[in-house]
Amino acid sequence: MKYLAEFQNPELARGLLDDIRAAVTRPWALMEVCGGQTHTIIRQGIDQLLPDGVELIHGPGCPVCVTPLEVIDKALAIAARPGVIFCSFGDMLRVPGTDRDLFRVRSEGGDVRVVYSPLDALRIATENPDREVVFFGIGFETTAPPNAMAVHQARKRGIRNFSMLVSHVRVPPAIDAVMGSPDCRVQGFLAAGHVCSVMGTSEYPELAARHRVPIVVTGFEPLDILEGIRRVVRQLERGEHTVDNAYPRAVRPEGNPAARAMLADVFEVTDRAWRGIGTIPLSGWRLSPRYREHDAEHRFDVVDIATREPAACRSGEVLQGLLKPNQCEAFGTDCTPRSPLGATMVSSEGACAAYYLYRRLGTPTTPLEASSVV
């Protein structure tokens, strides 16, 4: 159990919690979309500090978790080729493919390198003109513009030995899919702040109106999350369903126009399979035909790959908010961060990893009154 005293500003946190408690007259279920927010919530025990009845459901917002198994297997196949330097963000290394992960490929002699930025991969390509350099381009709308820039630069500078395996995903279609599911219990959304830093808020009013659901753009620090919850609850209690921005210090309505322009140039919207969830229409990006030369799927023949998910893993339900991680049979026994069955246990933003890391080992505890734990 965490304590209010652990908040950076406990007084402000207490004030927000008091406001939420005063506003709530009946139970509400809210979904935080972003995996970074899930981590803050579990680490700070925000779910346990909320008044009875206000439930947080963890959303699918972890790019590492939702990258389809087929794409992971393609990455593994490309990384294992002689002559290839395979570059990736560090948190993809342990994501299990059908029968191995990138760590294994590296220990078997593959040249797998961890980069901090896609531009590092581009630099590696210029330094190794006789090798094929492939970058694993995954992530939501926050990561897509940097990756788009790397491809754009490769074309502009004529760096022909650089290609990207692209599996980018978009948040609004995922919100639409969550709301469209017959089992959906979500009544309000905390939208992912940094996604909106890039994309702005223009995609949300239509979603909020059509599903009659409040959407509040929320940051990922503890107080940001409490403020987001406060605003969603206030709307719900009043019967409203609008888009509100609780993270104005980083989110402008128009987002980042230069980044959006680059996205439109380099990528095109496509249907995308989400690991554990299935295909969501128009929920991803792939390279547009103009950049085909830099598309790793075209450069390497990796079309027919047979994939197999471990039967015990219930990450699909976890990602859709239908199951809490500690309700999975394998949680903490057959499945741990050291030997994960599913991607949600591997990624530092994954819900299963958050529960494991912060010791939510048993069945979910009933929310406690904040006053009783401070």
């Binding site: 560090g90 940094h194 230069a258 530092s348």
Partner: protein, 87 residues
């Protein structure tokens, strides 16, 4: 990888046809691309994600966020070497 960390611009230079900056994240210094925030100036703060400045941030909120990240060990997670972390 999903973390976006505020940092302060220390130096700006054109490199390989792109506007680049040296950015200080509480002592960790990284090269950052400014193509998406071309009018960012030395001394200003921005939210940086995978080596790209994505949105301006005022100094006070940037400092608060950085202090929090440092305390929680998230800076190490973001900038540390994953081969090392694994061992």
């Amino acid at each position: 990888m999903c973390l976006a960390v505020p940092g302060r611009v220390v130096e700006i230079a054109e490199r390989d046809g792109a506007r680049m900056a040296v950015v200080d994240f509480s002592g960790v210094v990284k090269d950052v691309c400014l193509e998406y925030l071309p009018d960012l100036k030395v001394g200003e703060y921005a939210i940086v994600h995978v080596g790209f400045a994505l949105q301006r941030l005022d100094e006070e909120s940037a400092r608060k966020t950085l202090a929090l990240f440092e305390e929680l060990g998230l800076l190490q997670e973001e900038f540390g070497d994953p081969w090392e972390v694994e061992r």
